[in-house]
Amino acid sequence: MKNCRIGVYICMCGTNIAKIVDVEAVANFVSGLPNVVLARTYKYMCSNPGQEMITQDIKENQLNRVVVAACSPNMHEHTFRNALRSAGLNQYLFEMANIREQCSWVHKNTKEATEKAMALVYAAICRVELHEELESMSVNMCPNTLVVGGGIAGMTAALELADAGNSVHLVEKNNHLGGNLARVDLTAPYLYSARDLLTERLTRIMNHKQVHVYLESKVTDLTGYIGNFKATIQLLNGKPAKEKKSVEVEIGNVVVCTGFKEFDASRIVHYGYGKLPNVITSFELEKMIRAGRIETKEGKIPGYVAIIHCVGSRSQEFHTYCSRVCCMTALKYASEIKSANPTCYISDIYIDMHAFGKGHEDFYRQSSEAKTLFLMYEKDDRPVIHKASPKDDCEMLIEVNEKLSGEPIEIPADLVILMVGMEAREDSHEIARIVNISQDKDGWFIESHPKLEPVATTTDGIFIAGTCVAPKDIPDSVAQARAAAARILARIAKGKIEVDALYSEVNEEMCSGCRFCNQLCPFSAIEFNEEKKQSYIISALCKGCGVCVAACPSSAIKGRHFTDHQILAQVDGLFCEIGM
């Protein structure tokens, strides 16, 4: 390529790179290459002086291409692109060679590592010569939001958005709002009434002008892209399918808060759930507590109550994860049962006591003070419940190898409460498909980054919050709902949204309209123009993954910034003979 003036920068990364790779040798090798105007080494390229060095060189030496050989582009590509921008150069005229993760960290031999580093840098130079100037674009942001699920997370997100003056469509499958929280009596550890928590939200939502509540409804379709979605909401109402009414709404963002369902306790045969009448689940106990009387099926007040933790959680057989809320809920039951019947003896059979949250450890201590008997069992050595003989003073006996004493014991019980864990809802794959987000092996929705983007997904404009992401308690669900609402409000306030320039384009002249790419696109970014009989890509949705580029039989699709020329030049560069 003519008129290319390339600057190459080789970072030592302290000693991370320099202790294995001979950076000076790499710089020497590079500086002799055609089009390379200068090659420098520096201790930390990502530091401010390092970036300023690049900016100054661009201005003084009229550089029009830059290569930085340093760490992974995941880490600092953004940093160096900014350096180019501040020098007035288009940010895409830049390439990064990863000589840390892919070279110095994984090799021991200096000579070989240096040769590999040279090859990587050379490949980057070959590629950057073919780079083009690209511009990112912006789209409009519709201020309406769709919230799927009317539990505590959904209601919180809806109120947060509506209070800021935006229209919210809240879709709930059941005939009432409240979700799983509406099935609970008190909340741990402060024993606040769940009803009180809900009533305030409910009355506000019902009277809010900006919130449109769709009960007994579900989202059946979502088209469009960030800022410009169209959702179809179908009203179920028990009518036959043909008569079902559906509504179409225009929205800019979606918050998915579809919640969890509880583990089916009958799957664990040891516990005899469904066979022994007085083995009940935590939600069945909640029902009893709300009815005001804790009793056995025979109507007796239980003298011994046993609570078994981790039912369906933390096992290889069912779910490996911890459901997070059951430990404190179990302690809450101990306290509620004890206050209803002070002479009752409560055994709490657990694997580990997870008391991680605010006030939880104190709550655990209070439970100990009230003489709850805590018994530990080994993860894969579950207790076994069987009926007691008539001469025993209890209904059932629970056999377990108690881990802390090392004794095989049996525990008397009149009522056994199974702390059923949380599971992804069976219909969650349906909503995942409609809004185009992914699920992990357990069915939970995947966030775009587990630490830094906990409520965003890989699909722009789709947010997730609450227990549909992973098991969590009320404060965490509420925090996530508010976080999602805050992210959306920031976008609404901006009015427009920037879209990365790395998307694919269809060359209309070459497209035969075979529609292969339509099916393959993992982001549903390709649509078909019936009039022209050609496919086109919604650039706002495209992530530039390149699946369509590879699949197109007519080579009609070009991946911007990942053209065939650029990639082949890079490959050629890698395999070039390098003599030291």
Partner: protein
Amino acid sequence: MAIRVNPKFIDVLDRFGAEDVQLCYQCGDCSTICPHADDVYKFPRKSMRLLQMGLSQKIETTLEPWLCYYCGQCSEQCPREADPGETMMSLRRWLISRYDFTGIARQFFKSRLIEVLAVLIIALLTGIFLLYYGFSGGSIHIYDGEGAFLSSTFIHKFNLTVGAILAVFLVINAIRMWYLVMIKGTQFAVPWWLYLKELYQLPWHFFTQKRYSECEKKREHPFFMPWFIHLGLMLGYVTMLVLVMVFIEQLQSGPEIKWSVHIFGYLATIGLITGTIYFIRNRLKKNYVQYKKSHSTDWVFVILLFIIVLTGIAQHVFHRTGLFEWANITYVIHLMCVVPWLLRVPFSKWAHLIYRPLAMYLAAIRRAALALQEVVLDSYPVFIK
């Protein structure tokens, strides 16, 4: 065979002083810091666990409570203020009540009223009997020799009778302890010759209380105080017991002082008076963790002993100074305390005089037997010491 958990047991032990054991969450800090716990005898953690679960049939066969000398380091260390030291103490009380076949000890530990009433009734009966005997055959003005109010030959017979009653109860209880620990609680074979080989443990621990001195925390006290003073108290006690059981005639003759006998009496008195004052003072001041909580039986123990020592000294002094009436009166009071005290022995804390060295002896036998067979004590792995 699975053992039935008994959630009610923790309420029973509450009466014996284990008020905070429910707080224990089994971190094991207590066992780590304990200078006496090891791989074979795991305590206080495991003892606390068995207590929480109410496995009384298991606890009654364990020796661990006797291997603890309550230095209190565990209680200071405990992150949950579950007071392992006091728990071990209350387990000792409970074990005393378990070894006792009459059930009297249990009543004493459970009810302060019953204990105090029993002591008072026996004291009154003794007093009435002695006064009746004294007035019917002797004179209140004569202390020793012909016509004495309480002649030394009579007192000798009286003492031996009370001592025999005491011995019968103690021996039966000790046999019960042996049965529970070595037969019921030992699932592995113990060769008979180990009983001979380890026999030296009995006098060794009885007369030195070496393990008591090994409690590191105790070394913080000046001159190993609790161990030293406890040893003095115990040796004084035993010396005095031998004197009144065997040499009472020489002891009571007078008025000149018989140094060959009395020197032992004086030494024993020093040990007793120092010990009782020291322990009463600590229990009042609560300055060390092991004295923070005093069970009612602890108070009866030290106060009764203190009165016995004081009246003993008083009658000795009155006798030698010619105040025979006073000497006789204080003698009666002295015996009114001694008799309930001695009769209370098998049912009270005092029984540890026998149980502790016996426990040390049996523990050594069990340990040797285990080492011989390389048998793991527990059938299930326990991950925390």
